[in-house]
Symmetry: C2
Subunit: 328 residues, 2 copies
């Protein structure tokens, strides 16, 4: 039996994937209307409408039974991971896998989500599931692959064996840091790519910007002890490619609308879901400063979303930077 | 003064970029109508219509003056690079830069284009210019960046200084092998991604396939002596991302139409330009066999374009492969 904490689109899609793979699934959701709709009409009408959910999914408002599950998937917004982990931690046995499926960096501390989670529940076996996935596709059974990273390869492989399904294939990794940095920062790079597309600057320029963004991710990851090769996988290049090229991405589409001249307040005001890149851009600046890493693309996004720079000024500044090597 | 050998869309766009940067440009084209249109109406009506070309571009049918230029850009189809180099080589002084802008692998030998070129004109300073660029965007002055690789960093930096323009920014590299393998193989991966999109298998699956394709490129490149980090740059991830996500790409759009059920003959019969991935897929199998590299995505594309496998059978075979690590 698998626990899923978070009844948004991705949490609901993961619940469906594992229910269809034969598991009983307990889905915790914050909103009462989600719980009622999942248990009654077998549909998450708010966050993933139009999909009939498997009856093996039971929704609940109570986190106290999560510790009894074989594995718990944590699918809250990134900034809620610490709090959710604190609550679950009260009932969590030692060594129980908790798989973080959120992507981001903690704003208050500049820490990775796995570190924040471990501070709240040090007895957990923390893992992350991350890669190029759109909930609306995965819930329909379309094929996908992700990186599943844990503290050791043994733990990662054990969790992979449990969380393999026909259409969601996890690759095991023991690079928790590399897996998380890629997934977090790509949301920021996606906002930048969206802006460039929204301004009509072309697909070539967007691809160049994505590539410079990947160089920033690589510099930061290496400084934090990750392996560069991890970024070549689903959690890095794969996720970056998907997020930076599709209007299905909340972050890319937010950037696109910014590029077309709308304000951040207008765009966010119309959304029910969190657009992670907005807070990650700011959290990233905390982290980059702590570690002395140059991240000009992320800095430009941060300046734009905080109102410190206009889009045109930020783009000019990026284009006028002197060229160094591709690694620098 | 710069020489450009090849009057297709990309050759014409490069001629325009460097003419606008202040260089006189001599553009060799195979087709008489291209030469007449460029010299008369200042437009390449066949391959890049709708763009008024700079008057500093002169078109010619005569290759014998190319050796007098400061640098020669070789922008023929990949399978014509050896022949063109043999002709130019007769008049080429020692150490003169010849920058290969084609992307592919020689079908007859399974060799990299730089190796084929050097066999024909060993006195040349061979370089490659490669990255995420659509001719139609670059010719309009939209921003872009590429990798410019040569045998030494000193040579690469010298050529970069000559070939820098306001909207086409080259990053210097001394990894000739890495720069070429990325650009060649991505055309094959793009066909695969197009097929998946044409079959309606979703953006998540396409991103996963691209990522597995990158792992194949990395395995082959490393075996050939390239550095893995080169693939993180414009010539690798950048180009792969652009080519695998846009209908502007000839290779991606060919795959897309195959995925929708059209035949290779129908699609190629309607095209004036070469779709490099079709021959590269076959050349790659020669190269992969020589070096003992497992390339299942490229193999699937090769089997599909040669008629040895149906699309559905090839996709099933890929999805049913046992998972190993992301590197393997």
């Amino acid at each position: 039996m698998i626990g899923v904490v978070g009844g948004g689109a991705w949490g609901t899609a993961l619940a469906q994937v594992y229910a269809q793979a034969g598991h009983d699934v307990l889905l915790w959701a914050r909103e009462h209307e989600v719980i009622e709709a999942v248990n009654g009409a077998h549909e998450n009408k708010i966050f993933l409408p139009g999909v009939t959910l498997d009856k093996k999914i039971k929704a609940t408002a109570d986190l106290s039974h999560m510790g009894e599950k074989q594995a718990i998937l944590l699918v809250t917004p990134a900034q809620h991971v610490r709090h959710a982990m604190g609550v679950i931690g009260r009932w969590l046995p030692a060594g129980r896998p908790v798989v973080i499926c959120a992507k981001g960096i903690e704003l208050q501390s500049g820490k990775m989500l796995s570190d924040a989670a471990l501070e709240e529940a040090p007895q957990a076996e923390i893992a992350v599931l991350t890669g190029p996935t759109f909930a609306s596709e995965i819930v329909r059974g379309l094929p996908s692959a992700v990186t599943l990273a844990a503290g050791t390869m043994e733990a990662a492989e054990k969790i992979c064996a449990l969380l393999t399904s026909r259409n969601l294939r996890p690759y095991a990794s023991d690079d928790l840091t590399g897996a998380q940095i890629g997934g977090a920062v790509k949301n920021v790079i996606a906002i930048a790519c969206g802006i460039v597309a929204g301004k009509g600057l072309g697909e070539s320029g967007r691809a160049a910007l994505l590539t410079r963004g990947l160089a920033e991710i690589a510099r930061l990851s290496e400084k934090l002890g990750a392996r560069r090769e991890t970024l070549m996988g689903m959690c890095g290049v794969g996720d970056l490619m998907l997020t930076c090229s599709s209007m299905q991405s909340r972050n890319y589409s937010l950037g696109f609308m910014l590029g077309q001249g709308r304000t951040l307040e207008q765009i966010l005001g119309e959304r029910k879901s969190v657009t992670e890149g907005v807070s990650t851009a700011q959290a990233l600046m905390v982290m980059a400063k702590q570690h002395g890493i140059d991240m000009p693309v992320a800095r430009a996004v941060c300046d734009i979303v905080t109102g410190e720079s206009s889009i045109d000024a930020a783009i000019s500044a990026l284009l006028d930077r002197p060229l160094r090597t591709e690694k620098a």
